[in-house]
Assembly symmetry: C2
Homo-oligomer: 252 residues x 2
């Protein structure tokens, strides 16, 4: 383990290997059948004008997860009292050259925002962003170059979300606390870029959901039953359609 003891032996205090610790946020939400991410347009150098993930530094008295929640509110202007959100750690990016200005190690987080599938909450750019907007994830990944290593982070976040949706009810975090099966199904469609069969989806999901007894009227068609999450794990897992099969899968 040799954390500080070893350090005190081997290093002079002025050579203390310290870094700036940041968090970067991948905030996902679904609207219009498309997976969207909250991205900012950089106002300053480097990468001026490029899209980037919101983020900021971790304070001395908080851990990374706390910093992620704080920055989620500060950098995107999201009212977390009004929107259900879930935040989890993704991975840590520590290439010494990832920020050309100085060494910044970033603990990336995945944030999932509950929406009704139609409206997205307004974003208010934080201090150093020129603007903050929802962007369609698949389109951005295909067409834009993001600042720093944010392209990698966004890709990893999407992989993680898509993978986790196979064997957990993570998709329910992108939907209100109580939801219909169509709403949930549209999340799978948006993230996996596939179209699930409504009938089979119902049969697969019913055992892990709790029926609230209520029905929700639809614009057209029969009213849908309103469910909430019952079990956390889907076992055996849902399999991704071949069309949206597992990507290259980075290993280490």
């Amino acid at each position: 383990m040799g954390t500080e003891e070893q350090f005190l032996q081997d290093y002079q205090p002025r050579e203390y290997p310290s870094v700036a610790l940041a968090v970067d946020l991948v905030v996902f939400a679904v609207a219009g059948g498309v997976l969207q991410a909250a991205l900012i347009r950089r106002g300053g150098h480097p990468f001026q004008g490029a899209l980037a993930l919101p983020g900021g530094f971790v304070r001395a008295d908080e851990d990374a997860l706390h910093a992620a929640w704080r920055e989620l509110a500060e950098e995107t202007g999201l009212d977390l009292g009004a929107h259900r959100a879930h935040v989890e750690q993704l991975a840590t990016y520590s290439d010494p050259k990832r920020d050309p200005r100085m060494r910044v190690v970033s603990v990336a987080h995945l944030a999932l925002l509950a929406t009704d599938g139609k409206t997205l909450p307004d974003l208010n750019p934080g201090s150093d962003a020129a603007s903050a907007q929802w962007q369609p994830v698949h389109t951005v990944l295909a067409n834009e170059k993001l600042a720093f290593d944010h392209q990698d982070i966004l890709t990893d976040a999407l992989d993680r979300l898509a993978g986790k949706m196979e064997y957990t009810l993570t998709a329910a975090r992108l939907v209100p606390e109580e939801f219909t099966l169509s709403q949930l199904r549209h999340v799978y469609d948006a993230v996996w870029g596939a179209t699930m069969d409504p009938g089979n989806f119902t049969r697969k999901m019913t055992p892990v959901l709790a029926d609230t007894g209520r029905k929700e009227p639809r614009a057209k068609g029969a009213p849908a039953t309103v469910f909430s999450v019952d079990k956390d794990f889907i076992s055996p897992p849902l399999t991704r359609p071949a069309a949206a099969q597992r990507p290259g899968a980075a290993d280490s």
Copy 2:
């Protein structure tokens, strides 16, 4: 109290707090049908005499993964030329109080060491460890209190390994480059604490393995075919027997 703490605070730049960045290593290997971890016995305070994970600080010019490889050699004395190993990032632990003396943020890594299932490579304790030894993971988790938050890290590492073995050939990283189906099966047995049916295991694994054409004689019984890894993913996944079902599953 802490002279180091005082010093660190004086040194912190105004703009952003800086932290000491470390790596901790969970090194797994299988021997005697049991999953083992390379743990050190702490020589100094705090947690003197307790078991802990090997680890160390990340240097200014390297990323966390590189530091993990370096510390794997330095802190455990493992000869990586002689042993096939795989290292991947696990998660980052950033509780400001996780080290009572000062702030150390640690990027934990999972390292898998290939063995023949019988012998474990020798460990040579690094600078500040009293000793370094292989310890049976399940026993340690059940009976010992580890230093710092290393109990959490070890638990997370085991969860990660056990989970990944369901849908990838990660188990093959704990076995020589070429191996028999029994060897691989014993890895599953050791990690999952279950007993796989040899026949069904063979049928499930064969499609993702490459037959080398060679056979390996056994002490008793028929010689076993020697395989190497062909595909990385097992689809549909292998399901863990109910006896070794998925644990409590931390969420965020």
